[in-house]
């Protein structure tokens, strides 16, 4: 017998050829490299700031700001602190992003569905809209709308008058402002109760439909309840709301709520731009649902609008949600272009005026970036939760 007595054991590779060893070494090198770069950047910054006598720290947030901001959702005046200007800017950013997301979603879905319309003209107009708006830089669109809108609107003295209570001019749209007097809480309570009833009703109706197959008309009932209960409260308490109606005084309208044209132009540009992307996402989502699904649903005898609502859209959403999320993130970030037309968002107020008055660029830019990071992560998180809810449940 001439068998080799040695077992067939692979030889131990040299350390530099062993993938595990190499992987550990790479990772240690990577950590060291990143730490080193981070440390040296930090050290450089500290040294540079010290040698140039730049004030550091976050004490400035408590100092008096001393400048006015045209639009604020929270009470603000010049005597308040820089910290407050941060909140004002943040609220304005959230407002324009929130409204933008809502409007862009609505317009995007409508255009996306119109793109698949059997009406040739509708489909082509939708296509034309998409191809024009998504191929032109957003900043240019913002400039265009701002100056086009401003140029088209009359001055406050020649304002477009809607029934002597609402006015539209190049200073913005002025609406009556509700002033809640004692007793108005009943209306708020009514609204809450109506919302609660609707939710309970919806859950109950779904269970009943699952059990018996009978459909309960939740939508019409809630449409009556939600305005109805607050109105009932209003009547019961003898009308606890008065209206602050705007009136022309001096240069501009006094009183009421004003939506400034900067907000309008920014919102218009963000909506039209983002909606052109959303429309394409919606279209490809709907196309991705196989036609067999529609045919099967029609064969079951479902009416056409139910087919869309119960069969096509829920399946299309799975394809739509992930890219839709990135469009929402883009819209939020793009709202920072407000700085170009003077809408007082976070970048304009905080990274603009506040940074310049205090000179503390490092702190302020860090805070600003952290805020956008947080907003982005929050949107991603919410959309991921929603995505999980609509995702295909494999059984």
């Amino acid at each position: 017998m001439t068998t080799d007595p040695r077992p067939l054991r692979p030889g131990r590779p040299k350390p530099w050829n062993d993938p595990r060893v190499r992987s550990v070494v790479f990772q240690i090198l990577a950590i060291a490299g990143v730490a080193w770069i981070g440390y040296s950047l930090f050290q450089n910054t500290v040294n540079n700031m010290e040698s140039r006598g730049i004030t550091t720290g976050f004490g400035f947030l408590n100092e008096t700001a001393g400048f006015g901001i045209i639009m604020s959702l929270i009470p603000y005046d010049e005597t308040m602190s820089y910290g407050r200007t941060f909140l004002v800017g943040l609220a304005n950013t959230l407002l324009v992003s929130g409204l933008g997301i809502l409007l862009a979603t609505i317009v995007g879905f409508i255009v996306g569905i119109a793109r698949l319309s059997s009406n040739w003209l509708v489909a082509k107009v939708a296509l034309g809209y998409i191809e024009i708006f998504r191929n032109i830089p957003l900043l240019l669109q913002i400039f265009f709308w701002y100056f086009a809108v401003l140029g088209a609107l009359p001055g406050p003295r020649q304002a477009v008058n809607v029934g002597d209570i609402a006015f539209m001019s190049n200073r913005g749209i002025v609406l009556p402002k509700p002033i809640f007097e004692p007793g108005a809480w009943v209306m708020g309570a009514g609204l809450l109760v109506a919302l609660a009833i609707t939710v309970v009703l919806a859950v109950w109706a779904r269970r009943r439909q699952a059990a018996t197959g009978r459909i309960f008309p939740v939508l019409p009932i809630s449409l009556v309840l939600i305005p109805g209960l607050p109105l009932l409260g209003y009547l019961l308490m003898g009308g606890p709301v008065s209206w602050d109606i705007p009136a022309l005084g001096g240069f501009n309208f006094r009183g009421g709520i004003t939506a400034i044209p900067e907000l309008g132009a920014l919102l218009l540009a963000l909506t039209l731009y983002t909606a052109s992307f959303i429309a394409e996402i919606v279209r490809s989502g709907i196309v991705s649902v196989s036609s067999g699904q529609t045919e099967a649903a029609l064969a079951l005898g479902l009416p056409a609008r139910r087919v869309l609502r119960l069969v096509v859209i829920p399946q299309a959403l799975r394809v739509i949600i992930p890219p839709l999320t990135s469009q929402y993130l883009n819209l939020t970030k793009n709202s920072s272009l407000a700085v170009a037309i003077g809408y007082p968002d976070l970048v304009n107020v905080f990274m603009g005026t506040t940074l310049n008055q205090t000179g503390q660029a490092v702190e302020i830019v860090a805070i600003t970036m952290a805020v956008y990071l947080t907003i982005s992560l929050a949107i991603s998180l919410l959309m991921n939760l929603y995505n999980r809810a609509v995702a295909l449940k494999e059984r």
Partner: protein
């Protein structure tokens, strides 16, 4: 991945190795680069504006050119870096520019906590209001409730708030990122008034579609000494920028201008001799050549020439000297002596 890490490592080593070198002075940096990096406004007629060939011109631009002439012997050795008001201090603090010459108002906060030093005043200004004539307003005290266009990150924004609050009036501040933007907003009737330093108002007025339709109100609500700014902690450079401007003002006072500077080197006035370096070692103690002012005057001119060329009565901006006249002519322009 390996290559990335190695490249990143090399890059980082490079950065740190460079970090080891001693902190050079701005004066040496400028000489080494052969060029002065100067932060200017991104478009304000009379102060700093590029023409269609990209040549910058204006009072603030000439202030930079004078420094370049003094340090490098060439007034054209300047790289102009256009900055918005909101960017300017950060750019100077970070070392992105060597000198900031951009209608910047000298205030305590800026001097003390921003890490900056103001080297003097090249224009004494004050904040005013520009209104459309059609509104029929003739006093700033009638502006209650007006919408005001202004530029972000300026003292203007603060003075505006102070003025309206002190007089118990309401206003709406529409804040743009550039002065050009604020003028455009005013032109498009977004605002009733445009506020800025009066010199800037005169300049911006020339950009309106109908300059004659707007008037500057008589009230001046603040003091705005505008001047070049340098970083704190480099006294040598601070002195250079400071004394170039003082030199130009002194030159005007003693009648030295670009047309006669060559003959004036032979002047028997000891003041003129010291300014032009024919006597004493003023240049040497500043770290410059002794005849640095000859270079400045012959290339850029004295203060009066600089003023008249860019914003004076014969230019579209059309400002009179006013308080910016020499102290000998009833103004407040007063430069310490060369001695």
């Amino acid at each position: 991945m390996k290559k990335t890490i190695i490249t990143m490592g090399l890059a980082a080593t490079g950065l740190l190795a460079l970090g080891g070198q001693a902190q050079a002075s701005t004066l040496e940096d400028v000489r080494d680069a052969g060029q002065l990096r100067c932060g200017v406004s991104n478009g304000l007629p009379g102060f700093s504006q590029p023409d269609s060939d990209g040549n910058w011109a204006g009072l603030d631009v000439d202030t930079c050119r004078a420094v370049a002439a003094a340090v490098l012997g060439d007034a054209d050795a300047v790289e102009f870096i256009p900055l918005t008001a909101a960017e300017r201090f950060t750019a100077l603090q970070s070392g992105e520019i060597d000198v900031l010459s951009r209608n910047t108002t000298w205030t305590t906060t800026r001097d003390a906590s921003l890490g900056l030093n103001f080297t003097g005043t090249n224009y004494y200004d004050g904040q005013g209001f520009l209104v459309k004539e059609a509104l029929g307003v003739d006093s700033a005290y009638d502006l209650d409730g007006a919408a005001v266009c202004t530029q972000a990150g300026t003292t203007t924004e603060l003075n505006l708030a102070d003025f309206f609050r002190a007089n118990d009036m309401d206003y709406e501040a529409v804040v743009f990122d550039t002065s050009e933007g604020s003028a455009q907003g005013f032109d498009n009737n977004r605002c009733d008034i445009l506020t800025s330093d009066t010199s800037q108002l005169a300049a911006l007025r020339t950009q309106l579609s109908d300059p004659d339709s707007a008037v500057i109100l008589p009230e001046v609500i603040s003091k705005e000494p505008l001047g070049p700014v340098v970083r704190q902690g480099d006294d040598e450079w601070f002195n250079v920028v400071k004394w170039v401007l003082f030199g130009q003002i002194n030159a005007e006072e003693y009648g030295v201008d670009s047309s006669n500077v060559e003959e004036m080197t032979d002047s028997n006035n000891p003041n003129v001799q010291r300014i032009l370096g024919a006597d004493g070692n003023m240049g040497e103690i500043l770290g410059l050549d002794d005849d640095f002012m000859v270079e400045v005057i012959s290339e850029v001119g004295n203060y009066g020439e600089m003023f008249n060329r860019n914003v004076g009565p014969d230019t579209p901006v059309g400002l009179s000297r006013g308080v910016n006249a020499l102290w000998t002519d009833g103004g407040i322009l007063y430069a310490p002596p060369f001695r």
